[in-house]
Symmetry: C2
Subunit: 450 residues, 2 copies
């Protein structure tokens, strides 16, 4: 008589979901792992979509493993076009709808992982559903954009929203020869960066002929893709709307699963929800922030992978607590790198810190080395203790890796003094003898006094 | 009645010396600061010399501040061509020889900083003083090499010694169109790196047409610059010898200053020697290594700058202990970056650790991103505790910055588990969603089990 295997059901087949599924299967070979994915795609590098569009690369380049490969190589039962439409957490089952047939069925679970991700917000703008107006969140969005571009050769692009996705798109569509205008409803873009660093992004956009308008209210989009705003009309051949994202948790309404104010699933440091045997991670869930010592919503690919992996490990018996994120992110806009970790100055103030900020600009190669570039670095610290709270790096793309050193310092709980003591590598093509991080720390120490 | 100002005498006017002098003057405006420099150059980026040669740049590009500027801008009395030939530490004075005139004089000090650097070893090879045989340590060496190259247009280069200076020269002389042969007396080059990483350097040299021979005994150099060895004769038009360096401390023989076995000045974590009011730092001195918890000889520009700065601060009343180096270094050879921090596997074993090593190769950009490169990373850890002991990164030059993240992790005293938890930045042009450091940590954790 053989035992019934443990069944783990994962809802959602991208970063968090497939990481969880793979981890369970790796650690618990006998488990039955079922992944319910409502689209036709699993496990793809969503963050690569702007580049895939810009380089006119094959869309399949972004797929890491296909559903078929997950089945064959890892023994995971991936069910594409199967949407979870509800759960019954008391009786441990998921209600599923097979999209091709419309057939509904139930599947029981021992453990459930909610990894449904998020969807692009669509602001209530008239005409937002017109042909030629896109959002870019899923692989299928990229497919549609690519075929639209191929068929229509758009010349004029309007990007609604000035977040990093539209900034990456701006670079890539410009590369394809299009005119690009970005319309931002707030008073500026990248408002979570320090003013003096954000300024470089404005200059980089201008240098590359991308028009940026802020304080723009979009009134509507006409059939011919004219965008009507308080700052005039903008005729477009192609529009992308990037107005934030929203966790895909509607199907949990009515369940006992605790959601945060933005409808993201609340989890503990093992990615457990408040309901026994139900886990969650990725763009649909909160994640623990080490500096803030509380959960935040920070939907990024790295976070999703880590969350999924750890949730899977916990299900398989691991007792390892998540160390937490420190809030690291980076993106490229033309030749510029823009990176942040930890808290900004104003974020630190809001958290009650007596924050001080130090900003320096410094070359990224040695004095006298022929290839010069530079970065601007801000370090944020608590004045009384010198504790590092955050950092930002903006400048030549090849120099912004320094954000990862600051992220490591943050994770370590370093003071500015510790940062100053770091033994960073030096050779002329690589860094100046005083690396920009040390230059900044040498200045910052004067503000914190220890 | 005005007080006699405190006089600080600094022997040696490059990185450590000028950093000390500047720091004293910045913190103690009234101090009289005298720098004795036996050459005609102060404060230059010695590490930039191979590139200055290769790019045929102006030698003065390497000079950060001239002696004149130090006098005018910082009020430091820099005396070029003044050599310290001895000290009398009991009576607190230095014996000086003015090289142009041969005049000898004494100068008293309240504080003394010994920052005389090091000189290139000249192995006892017959013909090593021939015209066309060089060493590259001082700015004047670079001047001589550059004018020799300009006047003689050498086509065939023999580099004796396979350390990083000759590897950097190999790249730069190859760029000028020369044939380059490297002769190494040991069984291999870069023996402080793991085999599997060192291998990449061999391949890079081969790919770029640089001939490397190991186990070579140089018997002599003929007048026509033929190098006679146990592996045959090598005709050269230009020879550089890089056979290590030796601290410039001969003038201290007979004094009470404690020297290490290699004649480097021994210092504490304030860069104080055993003799009161006498400090030392830079290439002539030892430096505290945080992982080993003892002094080592690691003559690098970064270390010299830090040592000088802290020695100067201590003289001026600061009570700050040096945090220590972790042994970070990096260099470029053609398109390859080669970097190390902390202990290698065999170094860790020698120190009595139950060391484990994990090596992985991984791409440095995201799956599907068009520009691909990769790095190979080794992490060394103590098996019982998971404590990180060292790391090495070799690969595409633009990806080897990861050494600085490992250096920060080492400085923090991280375990492999901590490294695994790092919140490193991700976007497709910058890194894969699992950065190579995390890929390596995810493997390494299996070996240390915690």
């Amino acid at each position: 008589m053989s035992e019934t295997p443990i069944r783990v059901v994962v809802i959602g087949g991208d970063a968090a979901g497939m990481s969880a599924a793979s981890q369970v299967k790796r650690r618990m070979k006998s488990a039955e792992v079922v992944v319910l994915e409502k689209s036709e795609d699993v496990s793809y590098g969503a963050c690569g979509m702007p580049y895939n569009i810009g380089y006119k690369a094959d869309i399949n380049d972004l797929v890491v493993l296909t559903a078929e490969e997950f089945k064959k190589k890892r023994g995971i039962d991936v069910r594409l076009l199967n949407e979870a439409v509800g759960i019954d957490e008391k009786n441990k089952k998921v209600f599923v709808k097979s999209l091709p047939s419309g057939r509904k069925y139930e599947i029981g679970y021992d453990y459930l992982v909610i990894a449904t991700g998020a969807r692009a917000n669509k602001p209530p703008i008239e005409g937002i559903e017109n042909q030629g107006v896109f959002t870019l969140k899923f692989l299928d969005d990229a497919r549609k954009i690519k075929s639209f571009v191929d068929e229509n050769n758009p010349e004029k692009v309007v990007l609604i929203g000035g977040g990093f996705i539209n900034l990456e798109l701006a670079e890539n569509l410009k590369k394809l020869g299009m005119d690009v205008v970005i319309l931002e409803k707030l008073s500026g873009i990248l408002l979570n960066f320090e003013d003096e660093l954000r300024e470089s992004v404005y200059k980089e956009l201008e240098k590359n002929g991308v028009e940026l308008l802020c304080d723009v209210d979009v009134d509507g989009i006409l059939d011919d893709l004219t965008v009507e705003t308080n700052k005039g009309d903008f005729k477009a051949d192609f529009i992308n709307v990037a107005a934030g994202i929203k966790p895909n948790t509607d199907f949990l309404k009515g369940s006992q699963i605790k959601l945060a104010q933005n409808d993201a699933v609340d989890v503990d440091r093992y990615f457990r929800t408040n309901v026994e045997n139900v886990y969650s991670g990725g763009d649909c869930a909160l994640i623990y922030h080490k500096i803030l010592d509380r959960n935040v919503y920070m939907p990024l690919g790295t976070n999703a992978n880590k969350a999924g992996k750890l949730a899977g490990a916990t299900i398989a018996g691991s007792n390892e607590q998540f160390g937490g994120i420190v809030g690291t992110s980076i993106f490229k806009v033309f030749e510029l790198g823009v990176a942040k970790t930890g808290l900004s100055f104003s974020e630190a103030q809001k958290e009650g810190y007596n924050a001080v900020k130090t900003t320096i600009s410094a070359p990224i190669t040695a004095h006298g080395y022929p290839h010069q570039g530079k970065v601007t670095i801000s370090l944020i610290a608590e004045k009384s203790t010198g504790e590092l709270l955050g950092g930002q790096v903006v400048g030549n793309f090849e120099g912004v890796w320094r954000i990862d050193v600051i992220a490591a310092a943050l994770y370590a709980g370093f003071t500015i003094k510790d940062v100053q003591n770091l033994d960073l590598a030096y050779s002329p093509p690589f860094a100046p003898v005083w690396d920009p991080i040390l230059v900044c720390a040498n200045q910052a120490i004067k503000q914190v006094g220890k």
